[in-house]
Symmetry: D2
Subunit: 133 residues, 4 copies
């Protein structure tokens, strides 16, 4: 398994008039965590795309338990629990100190090239991942 | 059942460097459709909140079949298939002319007051909905 | 002069915890209006980019007079007051019925290719615009 | 003068199909820097709002010199150069290592209460600031 945790403060622009972080931001936070998980794999996502590989989302699920508020310090933990095949699955937990898990989620991605055609994940990427499984 | 469809063009700001509409926007489009579904129910969501009722998201699911691109004309259809009880469930389909369904999804919401406590949905709201079921 | 007006409702996701539309959205609305102004010019912005032309922002100014609120029906008027040369300047007014002008602004853009080099605007584009000046 | 610098990586969701950070994000980054500038003043912006004070934007200016790209490490420096009176003015510089200043800007804010009426800034806030001028 590969796991990574990032920390962020809820931005003011991310709040809505309910006084909480708008739910659309969780997908953005998940993505930020996913990018950091991939970095120590020796393959930054920026490099990944420069090699003409993309990981478009196929499915997104988010379960919201508690609200996050402006300036809350959150941790976003992402886990890659098994080797990717045609698709790659990441699991997430959003935690706030003293509040525990406030949300959890999952994203399923395909591998695609710039022409939006399905491709196999790059071999170097799989080789890197294989060390962790 | 209650159903409503809105139309929108993908905004430039909604694209990402993959050249497609970023996945986080679908939750925003779902919400825009949901707001319009509620309007003809005799209860705008703006009024709903002024009466101190909120419908926070408990669960969000989105399945992405095809990418949406800048300036694509999309229709977002939202359906309320059964009377809400403790929670209310909306189903969505994002369609593009000539492309069919490009994404589908579901949102599950609770009813809450400003103090973030669970409350029953307002009676006037349920009475309005009851006419459709 | 070329002028175009679009209409939109403030989305819930665009509000912040102050209970108003977050200021970052005005740039997004300006852009949506700008895209529509260009469409009847015989050159959609989507086509524009497919020809490898981009109009990156050089300067953005927004003056906020009154707040916009969730579900407010706004009109965004954009004006191109003179022929572009090395840069192109658009002026904007955000209006709400019964409230008058709630914000105004200006964007200045360069012409660039995908390699982020300054280029002259496409001749077909200038020819189209020339009819209006 | 009071000055503060925050660091952030450009998020994938912040890019657009031009392959650069969309211009609307700079206002969000300015805000994130502003919030951090206020924190060591003994008055978090979250606390500020709980005391029923708001600082709505009156004017936003951003000058874009170079593009920011996905995953770029940016520093956002915010400066408060003079004591606020009826309004408060912040100046910003966005820098990227090895690239120098990529954007600069200014925001002018009023002081307002929840009822959207202009109010004087809180005395405790002014007292804190006075130490720096």
């Amino acid at each position: 398994m590969i796991e990574h945790t990032i920390f962020l403060n809820v931005r003011y622009a991310e709040t809505d008039q309910m006084g909480v972080a708008h739910h659309s931001n969780y997908a953005v936070w998940f993505e930020a965590a996913r990018v950091e998980l991939m970095r120590p794999c020796g393959l930054s996502y920026a490099e990944f795309e420069k090699s003409d590989y993309y990981m478009p989302l196929i499915e997104l699920t988010v379960r919201f338990r508690k609200a996050a508020h402006f300036d809350d310090r959150l941790s976003i933990r992402v886990q890659l629990k098994k080797m990717p095949r045609a698709s790659i699955i990441f699991d997430y937990e959003v935690m706030e100190e003293g509040e525990g898990i406030i949300a959890s989620g999952q994203t399923v991605h395909a591998f695609m090239n710039r022409q939006e055609r399905a491709v196999k994940p790059p071999k170097a990427f799989l080789d890197h991942l294989a060390k962790f499984f």
